[in-house]
C-alpha cells in the first residue's frame, strides 16, 4: 500500500514537472542574446559600433527590436546594418546586426538592455541583453594658441551633372546663331534654305547627254577640232570612271586602254575606244586635222561605245532592240 502511494507520488511529481517546464520554456532557455560595444569611450561626435547578436535553435522565432534614430536619450543611431544570419552548429543559428552610434554631448551615458521578443504558439517572452554604458569625452583645448574661426566649408568641384544644363543652353545658342547666319546668307544669295538633293544620273545617261550637247555645239564645224576631241575624250573618260571605276581622267590613253582591256578584252568595244583615243591624241597633241566624216564617226563611235557598255541592269530594265539602238545613235548624231 505504501509502495503504491510512493509510485503515485512520483507520477504526480513528473506530471507536475511537465506542466511546469513545458517544451517552449525549455527552448526559451536555449536562446542567448548579446549587445556589446566596440569601446566604451569615444570623443564628442565620434562613432561607436554596437553589435547585437542572437543565438537560437533553428525552429525558434526571435524578433529583433525596431530602432528609430535614437537608441536611448542622447545616444543617436547613425547607421543600421542589415540582419545577417549564420549557422553555428547543427541546429543553432546566429543572427547579427550592427548599429553605429554617436553622441553629441559629453558625460557617461547609460544604454539599457536591448529587448528581443521570443514568440511561440503558446506564449510570448522578452529576452534582454546586458546593459552598457558609454563615456563621451570632450576635445582637449590647447589654450596656448590664439582663438581662430571655425574651419570654412570645403569647396567641392562642379560635376558634369551640375553644368550640363548650361552646356545644353550654350550649344542651343550656337546652333541658333549658326542657323541665323546660314539663313541670312542663303536669303542673300536667293538660294533655298534646304537644298533639294537631285538624284545622280547614271554615268551612261550623263555621257549621252554630254555627247548630245557636244553635237549641238558644232565645235569642229567652227574649226575648233582640238577642243572638240578634248571634250569628246573627256566625256568618255568621265564615263569610264563612273562606269568601271577606272581613274581615267588621271590616266593616259595607253593606261586607260590597258585597264579597259582587263575588263572588256579585245572585242569590238575595245577597238572602238582604241581608235577614238588614238585619233584624239593625234588631234590634241600632233595638230592632226581629221576630215569632217571622221569627226562625225568618232561621235557616233562614242555613243555606240556608251550604249554597248552601259550597266547591265539598265539594259535589262529597258533593253533596246537593234532598231531602237540605231535610232538612239542617229538621234544623238
Amino acid at each position: 500500500m505504501k509502495k503504491d502511494l510512493r509510485i503515485m507520488k512520483s507520477i504526480i511529481l513528473i506530471i507536475g514537472f511537465i506542466i511546469l517546464f513545458d517544451v517552449d520554456t525549455v527552448v526559451a532557455q536555449l536562446i542567448r542574446v548579446h549587445a556589446t560595444l566596440d569601446t566604451n569611450t569615444i570623443e564628442l561626435g565620434g562613432h561607436v559600433n554596437m553589435h547585437l547578436s542572437v543565438e537560437k535553435p533553428a525552429e525558434a522565432i526571435v524578433e529583433f527590436p525596431v530602432f528609430n534614430d535614437t537608441l536611448y536619450e542622447a545616444v543617436e543611431i547613425r547607421r543600421k546594418s542589415k540582419l545577417d544570419s549564420s549557422r553555428a552548429g547543427r541546429n543553432i543559428i546566429i543572427l547579427k546586426q550592427q548599429l553605429t552610434l554617436t553622441v553629441f554631448d559629453t558625460g557617461l551615458f547609460y544604454i539599457p538592455p536591448v529587448p528581443f521578443v521570443y514568440k511561440s504558439e503558446r506564449f510570448v517572452d522578452t529576452i534582454r541583453s546586458a546593459a552598457n554604458y558609454l563615456e563621451v569625452r570632450s576635445f582637449p583645448v590647447d589654450t596656448t594658441y590664439a582663438i581662430r574661426d571655425i574651419k570654412g566649408i570645403d569647396k567641392v568641384s562642379l560635376s558634369f551633372r551640375e553644368i550640363y544644363p548650361f552646356v545644353l543652353i550654350a550649344l542651343g545658342l550656337i546652333l541658333i546663331v549658326w542657323f541665323a547666319i546660314y539663313y541670312y546668307k542663303k536669303r542673300k544669295l536667293n538660294e533655298p534654305i534646304i537644298a533639294r538633293v537631285r538624284p545622280v544620273d547614271p554615268p551612261d545617261v550623263i555621257a549621252l547627254n554630254e555627247l548630245e550637247k557636244l553635237k549641238n555645239e558644232k565645235l569642229w564645224q567652227q574649226g575648233k577640232t582640238k577642243e572638240y576631241y578634248s571634250r569628246l575624250t573627256e566625256i568618255i573618260r568621265t564615263y569610264l570612271e563612273g562606269r568601271y571605276g577606272i581613274m581615267a581622267l588621271e590616266q593616259t590613253s595607253f593606261e586607260i586602254l590597258l585597264a579597259v582591256h582587263d575588263i572588256l578584252g579585245t572585242g569590238s568595244n575595245y577597238t572602238l575606244l582604241k581608235n577614238m583615243l588614238e585619233l584624239s591624241d593625234l588631234v590634241k597633241f600632233a595638230k592632226a586635222d581629221p576630215e569632217p566624216g571622221e569627226n562625225m564617226n568618232q561621235l557616233e563611235n562614242a555613243v555606240g561605245f556608251v550604249n554597248n557598255t552601259r550597266h547591265q541592269q539598265k539594259e535589262e530594265a529597258g533593253e533596246l532592240s537593234q532598231d531602237q539602238y540605231h535610232e538612239t545613235v542617229t538621234d544623238v548624231i
Binding site: S230, M247, L249, E250, Q251, T252, S253, F254, E255, L279, D281, L282, V283, K284, F285, A286, K287, A288, D289, P290, E291, E294, N295
Partner: protein
C-alpha cells in the same frame, strides 16, 4: 583616219631617218647588258637631250658596264674617273705644268676633256672636286690658269653613287644634284635576266659593242629632238606636275604639304620637257604625248623634291610623292 598636219608628218619622217641609230645603239648595248631596259632608255634620253645622268644603285648592277658600253657605241672620247677622298680638282680639269723644253708653263688637260665621262662613285670625293665637275657640267667649259677651254661636243657626264654605304662619303648638295637632268635608280634584274647573266659569265661569253655612232650623228639627232612638237596642253601638264610639288594643296594634295620641304625648280620643268621630247624621239614620234612625260617624270623629279623630317619619319619617299602626283593630276 584623218590627215595629220603636214609639219608633224614631215617631222615624223625626219625622225624615222635620224633615229635609226637609236635602235642600233639599243641592239649593241643589249648584246652586252642583260635587262636594264629602263637604264638604257634613260641613257639615250640624256644623250639626246644634252643632259647628265646620276645613276644610283647597289654595287653589281652593271652601272659602270652600261656607261662603258654606251661609250663603246659612240665614236667619241671616253674617260672614267674614280672619285676618291684624295682626288683634287686639278686631277679632273687639268693643270699648268712647266715645260723645260719650251721653258714656260703649258696646259695639261685633265680627263674631263672627253665626250663621255664616267664619274664613278661621285660621292666619295669632297665638295671642292664635286663642285669642279658640276661647274664644268653647267658651263661646258673649264678654266686652267688664265685660259678657258671649251669642253668637246657632245659632253655628257654619267655619275654613279651607291645608296647603301654612306660612311666616309660626301653627299651631293641639293643645288648640285639639280644639275643632273636625270637621276636613275637601278634595280635588280629579274630572275630570268639573272639566269642569263650567270650563264654568260660561266661560259666566259662577254660580247663587245661595236662603234656605230659618230658625235655628228648625235648632234644632228639632238637638233631633231629640239624640233619635236610639244603642244600647249602638254606644257600645261608638265607645269601642273612641277607646281604640284611646290604647292600640293592647290592640287588637292594637302597631305603632302607637310611632307615636302621644297618642290621642283624651273630647271625641273625645263628638263621634264626636254626629256619628254627625247623620249618621244626614241619612240619615233614627232610629237609629245602624256605617256612620254610620265615615262621620264620619276627620273627627272626624284632628286628635285626635298622631303621634311616628317616624311622621313613616315617613310614617305620622293618616289611615292611623284607617283601620287601623277595619279592625281588630270591628264590632258
Amino acid at each position: 583616219m584623218g590627215e595629220i598636219a603636214f609639219q608633224i608628218r614631215e617631222l615624223n619622217e625626219k625622225i624615222e631617218r635620224e633615229s635609226a641609230f637609236v635602235d642600233m645603239i639599243n641592239n649593241e648595248i643589249r648584246k652586252v647588258i642583260v635587262g636594264q631596259k629602263h637604264l638604257i632608255d634613260s641613257l639615250l634620253v640624256a644623250l639626246l637631250s644634252d643632259g647628265h645622268v646620276l645613276l644610283e644603285g647597289v654595287p653589281g648592277l652593271a652601272k659602270t658596264l652600261a656607261v662603258k658600253t654606251l661609250a663603246d657605241t659612240v665614236e667619241a672620247g671616253f674617260a672614267r674617273i674614280q672619285f676618291t677622298p684624295d682626288l683634287l680638282p686639278a686631277d679632273l680639269i687639268g693643270t699648268m705644268i712647266y715645260s723645260q723644253k719650251k721653258e714656260e708653263f703649258v696646259v695639261r688637260k685633265g680627263p674631263l676633256f672627253a665626250n663621255l665621262i664616267l664619274a664613278d662613285e661621285i660621292n666619295r670625293s669632297p665638295a671642292k672636286v664635286q663642285s669642279a665637275l658640276l661647274e664644268a657640267m653647267q658651263e661646258k667649259q673649264v678654266t686652267i690658269g688664265s685660259h678657258s677651254f671649251e669642253l668637246p661636243e657632245p659632253f655628257m657626264v654619267l655619275a654613279t653613287q651607291n645608296p647603301i654605304e654612306q660612311e666616309g662619303t660626301y653627299p651631293l648638295p641639293e643645288a648640285q644634284v639639280d644639275r643632273f637632268m636625270l637621276k636613275v635608280v637601278i634595280t635588280y634584274p629579274t630572275i630570268d635576266e639573272e639566269k642569263l647573266i650567270v650563264r654568260e659569265n660561266l661560259n666566259m661569253n662577254f660580247p663587245k659593242a661595236k662603234m656605230i655612232v659618230k658625235p655628228e650623228d648625235i648632234k644632228k639627232a639632238r637638233n631633231v629632238v629640239k624640233e619635236v612638237y610639244m603642244d600647249e596642253k602638254i606644257e600645261q601638264y608638265i607645269l601642273d606636275i612641277v607646281f604640284a610639288t611646290r604647292f600640293p594643296a592647290q592640287y588637292k594634295l594637302e597631305q603632302f604639304s607637310s611632307l615636302i620641304s621644297y618642290g621642283g625648280s624651273p630647271r625641273a620643268s625645263i628638263n621634264l620637257a626636254k626629256a619628254a621630247k627625247a623620249f618621244a624621239f626614241i619612240r619615233r614620234r614627232g610629237y609629245v604625248i602624256p605617256e612620254d612625260v610620265r615615262a621620264v617624270c620619276h627620273d627627272v623629279m626624284r632628286h628635285r623634291i626635298g622631303l621634311t623630317y616628317e616624311a622621313e619619319a613616315e617613310n614617305v619617299t620622293a618616289e611615292d610623292i611623284i607617283t601620287e602626283i601623277l595619279n592625281n593630276i588630270e591628264v590632258p
